[in-house]
């Protein structure tokens, strides 16, 4: 059995190491050791689901996820709907607590995206819940719930139209008092599809010649709005998401294959483009929307 240690904090900055380890899995069964896990963000959760799926594909057996005895992480994972989404990915030996009942403080539980109906459900759900969080916690205008819903719709459709594989979306608000001195809302999306290079390859690889790869594919979609569809009305989704995230001074990054591209605001320290990451299937999108500060326009 191969043991993969999960870090104390699993989020978009620590998921790369997890993906790299999973891609080294051979035929052996995998145990994800989460006994030291103290925090899992939405990126960590959907990333863990993706990692578990890949581990199952590579080893031929459902991996085990072991969590510590401390109740906080388990309880939070339960409230985020992680165990429901993980059913079928992690196998025997994984303890799946019952989902807590009662009102939820979660902005958007982990939601599998496999059909258009799922996108409608996501939008319906956040329309009911996001208004108060966006206006009271982040200080955005009351109408921002519409733009927020559109962002979610477009990122989920990215899974359906480009991945040709299932994916997950989740969103939650956090108090980043120590990191940023502000509250944030995080949206995380992950799928196990063919990634941007795979999606765009047939239509666009020839013109790039030897330069074609994960970086050029991400730049083509992220910066230039290229899509695999010949229809000139396509390819607006990511452009419009970027525009709205910029207005809110947010961070957006898209990891696909071996590369990550990002619009990085001043308050965050990360390169706009990373390459040479461990190859991992599909696409992972991370959006962080910070609380509005008074001196912003």
């Amino acid at each position: 059995m191969r043991v993969i240690d999960l870090p104390a904090s699993l989020d978009h900055q620590t998921s790369d190491a997890l993906f790299a380890e999973v891609m080294e899995v051979g035929g052996e069964k995998v145990l994800f050791d989460g006994r030291h896990l103290r925090f899992v963000g939405p990126n960590g959760m959907v990333g863990l689901l993706a990692a578990g799926s890949v581990a199952q594909d590579r080893s031929g057996e459902a991996p085990i996820l072991e969590l510590g005895a401390a109740g906080d992480v388990k309880s939070y994972l339960g409230r985020m709907g992680f165990f429901q989404a993980a059913d079928g990915i992690f196998g025997a030996g994984t303890a799946f607590p019952r989902r807590p009942s009662g009102p939820s403080d979660v902005l958007l539980e982990i939601t599998p995206i496999t059909t258009n109906s799922d996108v409608h459900e996501v939008v319906d759900r956040v329309q009911k819940r996001a208004g108060a969080i966006l206006s009271k916690t982040l200080g955005y205008p009351p109408t921002s719930v519409v733009q927020f819903s559109v962002i979610l719709s477009e990122v989920c459709q990215n899974i359906l139209e480009h991945a040709d594989a299932p994916g997950w979306v989740a969103a939650q608000s956090y108090n980043w008092e120590k990191r940023l001195g502000r509250h944030v809302v995080i949206i995380s999306v992950a799928d196990l599809g063919r990634g941007f290079r795979g999606s765009l390859s047939d239509e666009h690889s020839a013109r790039f010649g030897d330069r074609w790869g994960d970086v050029t594919a991400l730049e083509a979609a992220f910066i230039h709005g290229l899509t695999r569809f010949p229809d000139s009305g396509r390819g607006q989704g990511i452009q419009q998401i970027r525009k709205q995230v910029r207005r809110w001074d947010g961070l957006i990054s898209i990891r696909s294959g071996t590369a990550r591209i990002a619009d990085v605001p001043e308050w965050f320290d990360a390169p706009p483009l990373e390459e040479g990451l461990s190859d991992f299937p599909g696409t992972q999108i991370n959006i962080v929307l910070p609380e509005r500060v008074d001196d912003e326009d």
Partner: protein, 196 residues
């Protein structure tokens, strides 16, 4: 509802079309398949007209419209009825366009270099999409007057660039020139006040 002869008004409540054409109780215009289903249902209604259809596309019940739906329900709908092989002649006014819908609609119109007439809840019309300054001016003058007779055009628009712009507005289907009465009509003037 009062209209000019030769133009048939068709009111289409998009919220109603959405509930009828999509397979479940969706309340928002999101996802491309949903937008496509709504567009096809609208096209079917408009195509049934025996004369030039003045299609009043009512978006009052729509809160969320994503860019995929805006592309289908606004851009592709307009493009279909600008094509030479369009099923019927049709003009469009998008009504009840609340602020939250402005951006997706404006974005898809600009992307396809289209022009559309939008009517706010106060009944006032405005242009959305890509246009020249001359087109904006000619449209605003026509909108203010409601109609301009062919004989008046030289007086109202002494400059040829504005007359050309007026002609372009007709081609782009945001103004109407009735073949029989030598008259340019603002689309809003084709609709009776009682329907605004």
């Amino acid at each position: 509802m009062r209209t000019e002869p030769g133009v048939v008004p068709i009111s289409i409540d998009v919220g109603h079309v959405l509930r009828r054409s999509a397979e479940s109780l969706y309340s928002h215009l999101v996802t491309r398949p949903t937008g496509r289903a709504v567009r096809l249902a609208i096209e079917q209604q408009v195509a049934g007209s025996s004369r030039t259809a003045l299609s009043l596309i009512d978006l009052s019940d729509v809160t969320v419209m994503d860019f995929s739906c805006a592309d289908e329900i606004v851009a592709k709908l307009l493009m279909r009825f600008l094509e030479e092989d369009r099923p019927v002649d049709a003009l469009f006014i998008f009504r009840g366009v609340r602020q939250s819908l402005h951006e997706p609609i404006q974005t898809v119109l600009e992307r396809q270099e289209l022009l559309a007439v939008a009517q706010g809840s106060d009944g006032c019309c405005s242009l959305m999409g890509t246009r020249t300054e001359e087109e904006e001016y000619a449209w605003t003058v026509l909108e203010g007057r409601g109609r301009i007779g062919a004989a008046e055009v030289f007086e109202v628009f002494p400059g040829s660039h504005h007359r050309e712009a007026l002609h372009e507005l007709v081609l782009r289907r945001v103004a109407f020139a009735s073949p029989g009465d030598d008259m340019y009509h603002a689309l809003s003037a084709l609709v009776g006040k009682e329907s605004a």
